[in-house]
């Protein structure tokens, strides 16, 4: 599993991807590598049937000599929840901010459903890759105003029953017309989640969605995220500094350290590996 995801893009070469032409012109050594991986891939041929929704290709961001994100190659399948864990300052947030292009990669790129995201208009890309930040920044007005914001930017009106449905999902039924100034931290984060969902994203990116909340609220919001993600079969990337939380929410965990991908694997693999270290 670990090997496969590490070499995701090369495996795809063997089975034909949009980048086949580009990759085919790569150097001889790369071709040899690809052939070697082909056999591995054939053994796991079932994987070829799963669609990669999000792929990072040598994704890097280096700012004034500091490697915030360093050569990360991963692939995320449809419906998968990938947790990004690592110590403070390891580049988790920097990494997730590259996924919807809020920051520009200094090297490499991201493929969203097979398309290089530089070919997608930023506003369309960000509609498809929704984001929930650590601090929920809400726009002045009512909860419903916040939910309408995304669709409005695309010139669409969010139907009233969709608002009702979304608020119901995040446990804020009948609160559509509440002013956001009266919300608690947990409620604000629920609105932020519903607002991201209002854009009907393909991928949901969450950057430490519970770490600005107090202990009790944290559990509630985490449970809510879990529920919403399952119900909507969302493809999800969630940044967390808490491995236990990652284990509860995610199917797969990647560990980053100093901007580099240190390990990636199933929850049990990563948790076991971490436990044996201690």
């Amino acid at each position: 599993m670990i090997e496969w995801t590490r070499f995701g893009p090369s495996v795809r070469l063997a089975f034909g991807s949009q980048r086949q032409v580009m990759m085919a012109s790569a150097s001889c050594t790369e071709k040899m590598e690809a052939t070697m991986e082909l056999s591995t891939a054939l053994q796991q041929s079932h994987l070829t049937e799963t669609r990669l929704v999000l792929e990072t290709d040598h994704l890097s961001r280096v700012i004034s000599g500091k490697r915030l994100v360093d050569d990360i190659i991963i692939g995320i399948q449809k419906g998968e929840v990938l947790a990004v864990v690592g110590p403070s300052g390891s580049g988790k947030s920097s990494f997730i901010r590259l996924l919807n292009r809020l920051d520009e990669p200094t090297m490499g790129t991201v493929y969203l459903e097979g398309t290089d995201y530089r070919q997608i208009a930023p506003r369309e890309l960000r509609r498809r890759a929704g984001m929930v930040t650590q601090t929920p920044y809400l726009f002045p007005g009512t909860i419903a105003d916040n939910l309408r914001f995304g669709p409005q930017q695309q010139g669409k009106d969010l139907p009233e029953d969709t608002i009702t449905f979304l608020l119901d999902q995040v446990g804020l039924a009948d609160r559509a017309n509440s002013d956001i100034v009266n919300l608690s931290g947990g409620e604000a984060q629920r609105v932020s989640l519903a607002r991201a969902l209002a854009n009907s994203p393909t991928v949901l990116l969450m950057d430490e969605p519970t770490s600005a909340l107090d202990e009790e609220t944290k559990e509630d919001v985490e449970a809510l995220i879990l529920k919403v993600v399952r119900q909507n079969a969302l493809t999800c990337v969630i940044v967390s500094h808490d491995l236990a939380q990652a284990a509860r929410i995610a199917n797969r965990v990647m560990v980053v350290k100093a901007g580099r991908l240190e390990k990636i694997g199933s929850v049990t693999e990563i948790v076991d590996a971490t436990e044996t270290l201690h």
Partner: protein, 270 residues
């Protein structure tokens, strides 16, 4: 008192300058006692002020005998200088000099050109240069206020702007409320000076015209005309600079480049 001591106009001017300098220094002394230290800045400002305005005074001696195009040249130079000064108000945003140059140039330039064509401003250098410089000066202030306010608005609403971008807004949509605020607040001085005209404020131009022996009624109306021209020039400048500066705060891929200076990146938590 001074007028009786000095009969030569130049000597009188010098004595008057000394008197007001002493006045400013007295204020500084009072401030100093309250531990407010403005001495260095004020002394530099005083020195600059007297040197610059004396230089302009001597230029006018030549200008009075020069053809009209030298006036236009002088105003153009003033616009460049104003843009350079104003650009410092928005450090951290690339390309502010250009934005300021276009905004001040187009804002004051349009009003000067239109009003000269309409005959409100006389083509003669004695009229064109002082009035033009007044418009440029006010356009510069408005431009500085627009840029300064825009930067602080963006810095303090950084999270909201990025959230808007992350929800699929364009940079234009994401920053629209802050562009409006910057535009509106930068025009407060110009609007207020029109409002308070004659009530709390009898501006220098009118005072000058009265001193020069103009008809008070004409002097008064011309003052209204001047302040209205200032408001037009300021309005145009604010409009142009708030639109142009927006483009410099974002990258072509709709990423907010202007970050709060204390925290260079929001990704501090990871």
């Amino acid at each position: 008192m001074l007028q009786r001591l000095f009969t030569n106009q130049l000597a009188l001017g010098g004595a008057e300058a000394v008197a007001v300098t002493l006045l400013v220094l007295l204020v500084m002394l009072l401030a100093h006692k309250r531990e407010i230290h403005l001495e260095r800045e004020t002394i530099v400002a005083l020195a600059r002020g007297i040197v610059q305005i004396s230089a302009v005074g001597s230029i006018f001696i030549f200008l009075l005998r020069s053809p009209p195009w030298t006036g236009i040249l002088l105003l153009a130079a003033m616009i460049v200088a104003a843009a350079a000064i104003s650009a410092q108000r928005a450090q951290g945003i690339p390309g502010t000099f250009r934005v300021s140059l276009y905004a001040i140039g187009a804002g004051s330039g349009t009003v000067i050109a239109l009003m000269t064509l309409a005959g409100v401003i006389d083509m003669a250098i004695v009229s064109l240069v002082p009035l033009g410089s007044m418009l440029i000066y006010n356009a510069m202030n408005t431009n500085s206020l627009t840029l300064n306010r825009f930067r602080s608005e963006v810095e303090s609403h950084f999270g909201l702007i990025e959230t808007a971008l992350a929800l699929g807004a364009t940079s234009k949509q994401a920053v629209a409320p802050y562009v409006q605020v910057s535009f509106r607040t930068s025009l407060i001085p110009a609007v207020d000076s029109l409002k308070s005209l004659g009530i709390v404020w009898i501006p220098g131009l009118m005072a000058g015209m009265l001193l020069a022996g103009s008809d008070p009624a004409y002097a008064a109306i011309y003052q209204f005309v001047t302040i209205s021209m200032i408001l037009s020039a300021s309005g145009l400048t604010a409009l142009i600079s708030s639109v142009l500066i927006r483009k410099h705060a974002f990258s072509p891929a709709e990423q907010l480049d202007l970050r709060p200076q204390a925290a260079p990146s929001q990704s501090k938590t990871s």
